[in-house]
């Protein structure tokens, strides 16, 4: 046990989110899967916005992004977070928000599989959806547990396996107890804590670094390229790739997209958008702390890092007040836990609703469905947690490809399906299977060393663009599909309106 003050804050935080789970479980009268997975479609915009942002961030914001910015400089922060991430939050709200809220209620959709089946009027999409959602989400969850284990080890000196068990127990309890509502409400609280932590760290970095100008001058002395948006190590194509995969690709992340099913009213989307963008902007300022560390380390004032991913934990250990350090750990745990909780709900809803109820035609109405949902949420946590205790290489392979896989499989199907009248089910099937096969096929080739990706643009971004093209070409080559849910064209509405006046 390294620091009692930090432990006090972390234990208080973990206890608080479990208590929130209990309170929601007691207050909510969940009587079926609809209540458990989409919270009776009654959540306010702040909960939707904050949980959307919290789910998008995972451990990346506190560990991964500052680590890569430590060496790559401003280009990495700008293209992945400032522009890519902010654009992603905007696109999620503007492209998915309204139609998903509307169609979710109209068809009583609980999962993306439900929604895609309804908008394309086919059950042939179920298989690719269930495979992607179950396998990729489970392994993505493993990566999150592993991040929690590493975090406990790096910051509090707790054994990795115990760290995994603590994180898993807390998330499993509040997610299983309160379902989607508990997971989203806790994510809201978690994002608020993460925002406070990041803002404190940002101002602490400015104070320690002697102001923004002084930090930038220090960076320039180390490597002037770190201040540029593109340079010889960071081409415009690389920037474009990150913009596509983190901006456009955010639309296809199932744990995020399904949040819109729970929104109380589509008229609240404006508020959700503003709150989402604002909270996102306030949680991506960590790289400044990483740069202060780099300046100090290069100047010989601090020992070198064992890994760039430990830059924020080291900053906290060296510069932060222990109580605030505890808050920063809580903020980091929050970012990871909110993502794992959302993934658990995704795995659980896919298994219960898509596989058991829809594909195997089991009657899961009422309390029976609710009970199974809770059991499956716990089972998903247990299985992914057990894998995380000693993860094989395949887990990292699948888990690290998860964002790209979700983006390539679901983004074109959702965007074109909801927004393009001419999109057909054949186009959706072709693009989704192609996305899944390409992502894992190409990654397997590069991972095994048989082939090297020859371009500077991100591979997942290329696959995402390719699936868009395939969806469009196949849709145009197949007969137009009648979509009775899609209202008429504007001219037809105007004509109908004028006729009835």
């Amino acid at each position: 046990m390294q620091n009692i003050e930090m432990w006090v804050v972390v234990i208080a935080y973990l206890a608080a989110i479990v208590i929130i789970g209990f309170i929601i479980n007691r207050r909510e009268k969940n009587v079926g899967m609809d209540d458990y997975y989409v919270s009776q479609r009654s959540l306010p915009p702040i909960v939707i916005a904050f949980s959307l942002v919290a789910t998008s961030q995972s451990g990346m914001v506190f560990l991964g992004a500052p680590g890569t910015c430590y060496t790559a400089g401003y280009a990495q922060m700008v293209w992945t977070c400032m522009v890519g991430g902010v654009l992603g939050i905007m696109l999620c709200n503007l492209v998915l928000g309204k139609p998903m809220r509307y169609l979710g209620e109209r068809y009583n959709s609980i999962t993306l599989t439900d929604l895609l089946g309804d908008i394309y009027d086919t059950k042939k999409l179920q298989l690719v959806c269930v495979i992607t959602l179950l396998i990729v989400s489970t392994f993505y969850c493993v990566v999150q547990w592993s991040s929690i284990g590493n975090l406990f080890y790096a910051l509090l000196g707790v054994n990795y396996k115990w760290g995994v068990v603590i994180g898993l127990l807390v998330v499993a309890v509040y997610s299983a107890l309160g379902g989607n509502k508990s997971s989203t409400v806790v994510a809201t609280v978690q994002l608020f804590i993460a925002m406070l932590a990041v803002l404190y760290m940002f101002f602490l970095a400015l104070y320690v670094g002697g102001g923004l100008t002084s930090i930038n001058e220090g960076i320039q002395k180390i490597d002037p390229n770190m201040l540029k948006l593109t340079n010889e190590n960071y081409s415009i194509w690389k920037a474009f790739g990150f913009l596509i995969i983190y901006g456009v690709g955010m639309i296809g992340q199932p744990a995020m997209a399904t949040k819109f099913f729970s929104l109380k009213n589509s008229k609240m989307l404006g508020a959700a958008l503003a709150l989402g963008v604002t909270s996102y902007c306030f949680t991506i300022l960590n790289p400044f702390a990483a740069w202060v560390m780099r300046i100090r380390i290069e100047g010989g004032e601090l020992a070198a890092l064992t890994s760039v991913d430990t830059v924020i934990p080291r900053f906290v250990a060296v510069f932060a007040n222990p109580y605030i350090g505890g808050l920063l750990i809580a903020g980091t745990l929050s970012a990871i836990m909110s993502t794992s909780a959302a993934l658990l709900i995704t795995v659980s809803s896919t298994f219960t609703n898509d596989l058991c109820a829809k594909m195997l035609h089991k009657d899961l109405s009422g309390k029976k469905g609710m009970f199974l949902a809770q059991i499956v949420t716990l089972a998903a946590a247990l299985i992914s947690g057990l894998i995380a205790l000693d993860p094989p290489d395949t887990v990292w392979f699948i888990g690290n490809a998860a964002w790209g896989a979700f983006a390539a499989v679901f983004t074109p199907a959702l965007v074109l399906g909801l927004r393009w009248r001419r999109a057909t089910k054949q186009g959706a099937i072709a693009s989704m299977w192609t996305g899944l096969v390409l992502i894992f096929g190409l990654r397997a080739l590069t991972y095994s060393g048989l082939w090297t990706w020859p371009f500077s643009i991100d591979m997942s971004a290329c696959v995402l663009l390719a699936t868009f093209v395939i969806h469009i070409l196949v849709s145009l080559a197949t007969p137009e599909q009648e979509k009775e849910w899609m209202p008429r064209k504007k001219a037809e509405v105007l004509a109908m309106y004028n006729h009835t006046r």
Binding site: V78, K98, P99, K228, A274, G276, T278, M486
Partner: protein, 50 residues
């Protein structure tokens, strides 16, 4: 600006402020996508309100 090239400064500090203020105005004015169309022609025609 603060020791940064102007393009880096704009995308790091100005763009997020524009995004935050822009979306805040969008939310406060209540002009969410197609509000007028929706009020005039009904929520069923949400597709035309973008």
């Amino acid at each position: 600006m603060f020791g940064l090239p102007i393009s880096t400064f704009i995308l790091t500090f100005v763009w997020p402020v524009i995004a935050m203020v822009g979306t805040l105005i969008y939310a406060l004015t209540g002009n969410y996508e197609g509000k007028k169309m929706e009020e005039k022609y009904g929520e069923e025609n949400w597709y035309n309100t973008f």
